[in-house]
Symmetry: C2
Subunit: 171 residues, 2 copies
C-alpha cells in the first residue's frame, strides 16, 4: 500500500534532489506532499529553476499524517532551519523512528533540530565538520543507513543508491 511522504522545501533547493526521489516514490505508488512556508507558494530550484508549488504550509500540517520525511539539499535547508516549526516537524519523525531521507545540505536542518547526535550520517563535503561537531558519526559514503531510520547520501551523484534505499525503507 502506498505511503505518504512529506518533503520540506523552499527556494534554492537542489532541483534533482527533489525531482528524482519524488518521481521514484510516485512510480512506486507513494504520495509526496510538499511542505513549505505557505501553501500555494511557488518555489524555485537553484540550478535548473524547477518550479514547485507548495502543497501545505508548515503551520497546517501534523507529522503524524506522514510515514516518512524527505529533505532535499541545496540552500533550502539553510532557510528552513531558521523556523522553529520545521525543527519541531523534523523532531517528531526522529522521535518516532520514522524514516528520514537526507541528501547533500539536508543535515543542516537535522543539526538545528538536534537529532543527529550519535547517529551515522553522510552529507555534502562542507557540512561534514558541522555534523561531526554536532556529535554525529560522519561517513564519507554514497549511502549511509542509521538504525534509527535515517538514510543519507552526499550529492546528486548518489541518487541511484539513495532512491533504491528510500523505496526499500517504505516496504
Amino acid at each position: 500500500m502506498g505511503k505518504k511522504v512529506a518533503t520540506v522545501l523552499t527556494n534554492l533547493f537542489e532541483d534533482v534532489e527533489f525531482t528524482s526521489p519524488k518521481e521514484t516514490l510516485e512510480k512506486a505508488g507513494h504520495e509526496v506532499v510538499t511542505i513549505g512556508f505557505e501553501a500555494g507558494e511557488i518555489v524555485e530550484g537553484k540550478k535548473e529553476k524547477t518550479q514547485v508549488t507548495i502543497d501545505k504550509s508548515i503551520g497546517d500540517v501534523d507529522p503524524s499524517d506522514f510515514d516518512a520525511l524527505l529533505i532535499p539539499g541545496g540552500y533550502s535547508p539553510d532557510k528552513l532551519r531558521k523556523d522553529e516549526r520545521f525543527l519541531d516537524f523534523v523532531r517528531d519523525f526522529s522521535k518516532n523512528n520514522k524514516p528520514i531521507f537526507s541528501i547533500c545540505h539536508a543535515p543542516q536542518l537535522l543539526i538545528s533540530a538536534e537529532v543527529v547526535k550519535g547517529k551515522e550520517v553522510t552529507s555534502v563535503k562542507q557540512v561534514a565538520i558541522d555534523l561531526k561537531n554536532a556529535g554525529a558519526h560522519f561517513r564519507d559514503e554514497a549511502l549511509v543507513k542509521d538504525k534509527s531510520g535515517l538514510i543519507s547520501s552526499r550529492t546528486p551523484t548518489d541518487l541511484p543508491v539513495f532512491n533504491e534505499a528510500i523505496i526499500d525503507a517504505l516496504k
Copy 2:
C-alpha cells in the same frame, strides 16, 4: 597609512555585505582586494546580482601581503569552504591575530578552518548552533569583538556598527 584588506568571495555572496564594507574601507584610504577561485572571474551577488571581478586567484596569493581579512556572507562562504586553500588562507590570519571581519554566514568558513574554538562570535541565526557545536561562544549581538582580532556581525542590519568597527580595527 592605508591598509590592504583581502576579501574572499564567490557567487551568491550577500551583495551589501561586500559592497558596503568595501566602500567604507576605500573611503578611509584602504585597499580592498577580491580573492576567489580564478582571477578575472565575474561573480554575482545573491539578491541584487551585483557583479564583481575577482582580482586574484586563491592559488596566487600570500596571506602575509594583507593586513586584514573580510568575509562577506550569503552562500559564498559555503562554496569557499569546500576548498582547502581558502581554509589555509583564513588560518594564517587567525594564527597571526590579524583582524578578521565576519558577517552573516561567514563563520561557516571559520568553522571549517577550525579557528573559532573558545572565541566570542556572532552570526546569522541559523549558523549559531554550528558555532556553538564548534566550541565558539556565540553571542546574539549586533557587534562582537573577540580579543584575537575577530570582529563579527549578524546580518546587513548590523552594517553601520560593523563598518565602524572594522575602520577602528585598522587604525
